[in-house]
Symmetry: C2
Subunit: 173 residues, 2 copies
DNA sequence: CATTGACGTGTCAAGAGTGGAATGTAAAGT
DNA sequence: ACTTTACATTCCACTCTTGACACGTCAATG
């Protein structure tokens, strides 16, 4: 249900077309929220119907530039300050850990160490991305930075945990 | 798509009815994967159709006890060792961070500190749960412990990060 | 014996999310 | 002039997930 708010949030920065939004999802939001083209256009239609956004301008190639409206801004604010983030507990990689007992101890350790390496690679990728981005003073950048730091800490934690867990399995026999 | 594997994994430990599985989802797997009753029964039906599980016994009240089959075990193993955990990046709470610029600095800091407290409470809850559980030698327990440790580390990291981020916002002005 | 509560299975509607295809226009390069 | 690339929207078919509802059984309690 947060796709709606992701779109509103992006439009709150500046007006954009569906196409623009998709690119924003792929770039700035890629590590935080993903959306496909069908979702974005669909959501824009629904948001327009309920008056939270409006078509502010039409451009070449049938381009429709959407802008957030006052009710839209109110809804966004409401979401930010008055609703709790949903704790959707669902992790594919953690689920596997529960069933590691079905593998041989060696296989299980291999799985965990592979996970550790995946995380290490991801951390490296994030650091690279961080270095590559020109951090302008745009508010999305500022807060994007906070999110990036979260990603870095998460990767690091995941790696350490996986190595620890592999160690536990080794010691447990 | 991992609900299927969660069900298979649980049935690999021991045969169970749909009702039993639901309780397992609510207890042992609650922090890792959630499932509703409709999903569980629906998935059991599909799994039975494709021969990955079978009805091993029928009990009172129309109870059907399902057991994993050899093809089921093969599928589970295949999932564990040969497929990559899906990195579905979608975090409600992180999405909000991107849009914190729409609030006043004070409101944004409040949000982050509230997040920190939520995490602290969660960590406390996990520690409590850890103390309360009798850890038998059942393989689900052993690996459940690893997952619990993950949860603890995640909560701790989340809290630290939120406090750090709030500090950043304060310093940034 | 009547009621209550835990046990147990199942269906349905609606919404969220995925993945792909169809269709076309404008701009830029060769 | 021609072709490619980028821009831009819309539609479709499918699966997954949620939440509620409907139905029925067994065991214990007062």
């Amino acid at each position: 249900m947060s796709l709606r708010h992701a779109v509103l949030g992006l439009l709150a920065e500046r007006p954009a077309s569906g196409y623009d939004l998709m690119k924003l999802f792929e770039t700035s939001l890629s590590h935080v929220w993903s959306a496909t083209q069908s979702q974005v256009y669909g959501e824009l239609g629904k948001l327009a119907d309920s008056g939270l956004v409006e078509v502010a301008a039409e451009g070449p190639r049938g381009r429709k530039e959407y802008a957030i409206t006052d009710p839209g801004r109110a809804e966004l604010r409401h979401w930010l300050v008055e609703t709790e983030p949903s704790r959707t507990r669902r992790s594919d990689s953690l689920l596997r850990v529960f069933f590691l007992g079905l593998l041989t101890p060696l296989e299980a350790q291999t799985y965990l160490l592979t996970e550790a390496e995946r995380s290490a690679r991801q951390l490296a990728g994030l650091k690279e991305a961080e270095a590559a981005i020109e951090w302008d003073d745009d508010p999305l950048s500022l807060h994007g930075r906070l999110a990036l730091e979260y990603g870095k800490r998460l990767s690091a934690m995941h790696e350490e945990w996986a190595r620890w867990a592999a160690e536990q399995l080794k010691a447990g026999r």
